[in-house]
Amino acid sequence: MITLPHYLTVSAALFTLGLLGVLTRRNAVNVLMGIELILNSANLNLVAFSRFGPGNLQGQLFAVFVIVIAAAEVAVALAIVLTLYRLRRTPNLDEADFLRG
């Protein structure tokens, strides 16, 4: 019998892996992939609660909004990464230290 905690466990695994990617990668595009994993884990939680909860569709609607915001976020983030690459000739985040005194 597959219950709610099973899905939540998969979602927790996705979240921690995404967090690991965000924390360890130097390449900005790879950090964005980690953020996508985190957003997917949140979505999986929402849909699972929608399925096992009170039986309405609010969770799925919220997940649709999360997908929309993920699309907007990745477009803007890639624009910033491209601008950074144009300025510094590198996609690595730790070399973007323009504001260091």
Binding site: M1, I2, L4, P5, Y7, T9, V10, A12, A13, L14, T16, L17, G18, L19, L20, G21, L23, T24, R25, N27, A28, V29, N30, L32, M33, L37, N40, L44, V47, F49, S50, R51, F52, G53, P54, G55, N56, L57, Q60, L61, A63, V64, F65, I67, V68, I69, A70, A71, A72, E73, V74, A75, V76, L78, A79, I80, V81, T83, Y85, N92
Partner: protein, 184 residues
């Protein structure tokens, strides 16, 4: 094991294994292709949860949109003749300890309890197995597209319109940021 459980474990294994490849692969291209399998696995889990519209949306937007955009990002931030699209890893050990600890704290399936003097037995690991979630009647497998459309056009019209304005603003902002200015 029922058929549902078998399908669940297959999709969960695909999702988590591909996510691990995304995070641990040395090459950016391998990461991007593993991300494809993660998105497919999550879409399969959506189908298993009875969210057919959301599974189709996941495939269309994540696989068709976001993943292609990320691949463009990979290609545009490297020189075209650069064959080793490597991504270095920094501070791996502390991050791995933090993330592993977080996962154990959240989802450790085996019971580990402490016996505290006044409170009694307290289960410390695996919060989401221990919590008694307010599960209700649930929603059986039924088509969701029509109801989602009605909710978007009715009760949730304002967030729907706000999301469309947000998308417009974000895409215009992205175009403005990457534009080459003539005076610069």
């Amino acid at each position: 094991m029922s058929a549902e459980a078998a399908v669940f474990y297959v999709f969960a294994a695909i999702t988590v294994a591909a996510a691990a490849v995304v995070v641990l692969a040395r090459s950016l291209i391998y990461s991007a292709f593993a991300l494809l399998f993660t998105f497919f696995g999550v879409a399969g889990l959506y189908v298993l949860l009875g969210a057919d519209f959301l599974a189709a949306t996941q495939l269309l937007i994540y696989v068709g949109g976001i993943l292609v955009l990320l691949l463009f990002g990979v290609m545009l931030t490297h020189k075209l003749y650069d064959l080793n699209l490597k991504s270095e890893v920094t501070q791996f050990l502390p991050a791995a300890i933090i993330c592993g600890g977080l996962f154990v704290l959240l989802a450790w399936p085996i019971e580990v309890s402490l016996i505290l003097p006044r409170i009694g037995r307290v289960r410390i690991l695996g919060t989401l197995w221990q919590t008694s979630w307010a599960t209700g009647t649930g929603r059986g497998p039924a088509a969701t597209t029509e109801e989602i459309g009605r909710l978007f056009m009715g009760r949730y019209l304002l967030p729907f319109e706000a999301a469309s304005v947000l998308l417009l603003v974000a895409l215009m902002g992205a175009a403005m940021i990457v534009r080459r200015r003539k005076d610069a």
